[in-house]
Symmetry: C2
Subunit: 163 residues, 2 copies
DNA sequence: CTCATCTCAGGCTGACTGAGATCT
DNA sequence: CAGATCTCAGTCGGCCTGAGATGA
């Protein structure tokens, strides 16, 4: 086990890049967790307003699948039922979706995307794409494609497993 | 723009897998953010105690680089200076590291790994490896290697960029 | 009766900010 | 003086639990 006690010469000003230990650099879980921050920051910055990432997820889901209940939105996005209430509240207040009781099952709220919601979705699409370019900047096209496929397989595998 | 209004036949009990929209499935940032949870859970479960992941990171860093200041620990691990205080406090209380003022620069605390700390590090090494196997379960060896290299490049690229 | 849905209230953690004291 | 370090206090968002009301 490599326990070096040598004191490296430590310069006064410490703004040279400082590497993490090899153990962590070789740990996929650590790298994934470590990338959460940058991914989050870049997307948030590209989209402007706070909470826009969650808006984007809901609007994209409604655009593709049509009107859904809050519970199904939560299942598709892995968002807690409890947080979905507040999220949909905000979207309704902003006029991006509408909420109406489902006539066929009166427990449910049917959430529908509105015209302003679609316009916002289109703008957020652009922001999302810009963020990807920054996030993946050091990667060639083939490596981006390989990464995408691998991440999809991991998410699929842990969709049920998780929780 | 694909706005389908067709009501899919919705069975009463909804425990069939529900996919996220294609927009998100093709978004590396979303996939990365989405994998934070599973990665975190698996590592935490394998390591047992809560906070063990952070312990592991600090102990691995001290083992490889020798005694470091809290600030440099924070830089190498991308942990906030403020959170590092509480983290080191806990490690000191558990006897896994020792904290002493640096004689050459009295602003700094020199953090050193202890013998019990090294034993805990070895145990956490095993737990970390087990967690990787679960996390990467659906991937072949070559794909795991490719993923590792890609994630390393991304982390390296955003080490300075981030923040 | 069981189960699903929506809602609210609240806890917990990780990431972060601001400010102050100390020291180089 | 500027800048680095350590510490505390506190905010904010994501994630999660529990419980109640309503309805299938």
């Amino acid at each position: 086990m490599s326990t070096r006690r040598n004191r490296e010469p430590v310069p006064a000003s410490q703004h040279i890049p400082q590497h993490p230990p090899d153990r962590l650099r070789r740990l996929p879980s650590w790298l994934l967790i470590r990338l959460y921050g940058p991914a989050n920051r870049l997307v948030a910055a590209a989209m402007g307003e706070p909470g826009a990432r969650a808006d984007y997820a809901v609007l994209a889901t409604l655009d593709q699948f049509g009107a859904l209940s809050q519970a199904e939105l939560g299942r598709r996005l892995a968002v807690d039922r409890s947080d979905m209430v507040a999220l949909v509240n905000r979207l309704v207040d902003d006029g991006l979706v509408s909420r109406a009781p489902d006539p066929t099952d009166r427990r449910r709220n049917t959430i529908t995307i509105t015209e302003p919601g679609r316009r916002r979705l289109a703008r957020l699409d652009d922001a999302a794409q810009r963020a990807q370019d920054e996030l993946l900047a050091p990667l060639s096209e083939p490596r981006r494609a390989a990464l995408l496929g691998t991440l999809q397989d991991l998410v699929d595998h842990h969709r049920d497993t998780a929780r």
